[in-house]
Amino acid sequence: MIKNLLYKELRLATHPTQFLFLSFGLMLLIPAYPYYVAFFYITLSQFFVTTIGRENNDVSFTAMLPVAKRDVVKARLLMGVIFEVLSLIIAIPFSFLGTFTHPSGNEAGIEANPAFFGFVLIMFAIFNLIYYTGFYKTAYKAGKYFLAASILMFIYIGICESLVWIPVPGLKEYLDTMNASMMIKQLPILGAGILIFVLGYFLTFHISAKRFEKVDL
């Protein structure tokens, strides 16, 4: 059932910007840029999916199908998560290429290293939790929750970028580097990011599905 709903999402609901923004991993080649922004666009494209779906009466189409309401939520959320993970996977080669295009490192933010990828996964978890659980209160109001999720994401990005400026000896050297041995030491942060992202998905799904089941379509 979920497989069919994912197919429906892909054929009918996906927005062209979702595919376009996947290529924004290219931004990791920019010598001075807050790289989190490249991944913020992936969340923006999910907002487009929701609003375009609303304009296209996605709900009245889906209502016809022999599916449970919670599976509708699961498919929409899974599709979002797939694009989030894909955006990170596509970005990995560019993070390595970046060490050649600007060997002196990113002048405007932390390097695109494993710790950064872990932080981005947590950023996605924040977005999913705020946006989807908010949207599925009504299955109609999207803008308010995208704004709330965006504000929180930018506060979170601010905190992450500020970490390297905390005067703790060795912290900047640990987080803001593409040095191979240090990157291995960053893997626990990536692991924590993966864990929070996965747990966040389940929590987001649980709350969103419960809320959507109460929505009268």
């Binding site: 069919n4 197919y7 054929r11 996605d58 189409f61 209502a63 199908l65 022999p66 599916v67 009268d216």
Partner: protein, 286 residues
């Protein structure tokens, strides 16, 4: 029994679907009538849990809907008005998505309906007229051997020829005694042609659910001069006075009170108009 609805209740701020109960056997067409806002669409939505009912049960093919939602939905063809979704997509794309959800999807049958309804698959939904959108929705709903078709206003927006064609199709569908159709409408003339049963909803409550002929036979239309209006005629339903006299509707068993008046059997539309008029005048329900 193909469909059983038992005390379906749903409270909104300004409207209550109040203990709605009715049932439909295999092989019949049931017209679900009531004026705008009476609760037709709400009932249909509560039936398949698009809106969650506060209480009550729905059984489809003797399966409790709440416990067997997916199996029940496989046996339902549900059309909520015209196809007004994914307007920029081709019909073929929407059909390609839809067919995957049904284990009993019948591609040949779908192609037959496309031909019958003159639908061109390469067109986009936005290029279809209102009537064609209804037909496309129906083609999708009819192509997976659904035992029960639940159609909300399927004939609105269709021209008289298409409507007639559709009603004929409805009769063909139920002919085998295995399928049934529940369709809501306020175009009661459609039901005169094809419905076996009538369920009448008024302000969220079921006023009647019975065979169409029994339902229409309960009432008589009476008309006559103003002088013939007696106190007993308070029993007239939706009585209207005009230049030429009075006209109203009365329960068949009260017909003796209307001695001297012209009497005729009402159509469904006339019954509906008089009942709704009575309610409007007196603020009471049947």
């Amino acid at each position: 029994m193909l469909l059983e609805i038992d005390n379906l209740t749903k409270k909104y701020e300004c409207f209550t679907l109040d203990h709605v109960s009715f049932s439909l056997e295999k092989g019949y067409i049931m017209g679900f009538i009531g004026k705008n806002g009476a609760g037709k669409t709400t009932t249909l939505k509560c039936m398949i849990h698009l809106a969650s009912p506060d209480s009550g049960h729905v059984k489809i093919l003797d399966m409790d809907f709440a416990e067997n939602e997916l199996a029940c939905k496989q046996n339902i063809g549900f059309v909520l008005g015209a196809a007004d979704y994914y307007l920029n997509r081709k019909l073929s794309t929407i059909a390609d998505v839809t067919r995957r959800f049904y284990s009993d999807w019948d591609e040949a049958m779908y192609r037959d309906y496309l031909n019958r309804f003159d639908l061109v698959e390469t067109k986009r939904v936005k290029d279809l007229s209102a009537g064609m959108k209804v037909k496309f929705s129906l083609a999708l709903a009819l192509s997976h051997h659904a035992k029960l078709l639940i159609l909300d206003e399927p004939t609105s927006g269709l021209d008289p020829v298409s409507r007639d064609d559709l009603l004929e199709l409805f009769q063909e569908i139920v002919e085998d005694g295995e399928h049934s159709i529940l369709f809501s409408t306020h175009i009661t003339s459609d039901l005169e042609k094809c419905a076996d049963f009538i369920t009448y909803i008024h302000d969220g409550r079921i006023l009647a659910s019975e065979e169409k002929d029994i339902f229409t036979d309960r009432y008589r239309l009476v008309s006559g001069s103003r002088d013939s209006l007696t106190d007993d005629m308070k029993k007239l339903i939706g009585c209207r006075e005009h230049h030429f006299g009075i006209e109203g509707m009365i329960h068949k068993e009260d017909l003796a009170l209307c001695d001297g008046l012209e009497v005729k059997t009402p159509t469904l539309e006339e019954i509906m108009i008089h009942i709704e008029r009575k309610d409007k005048k007196e603020g009471v329900t049947e």
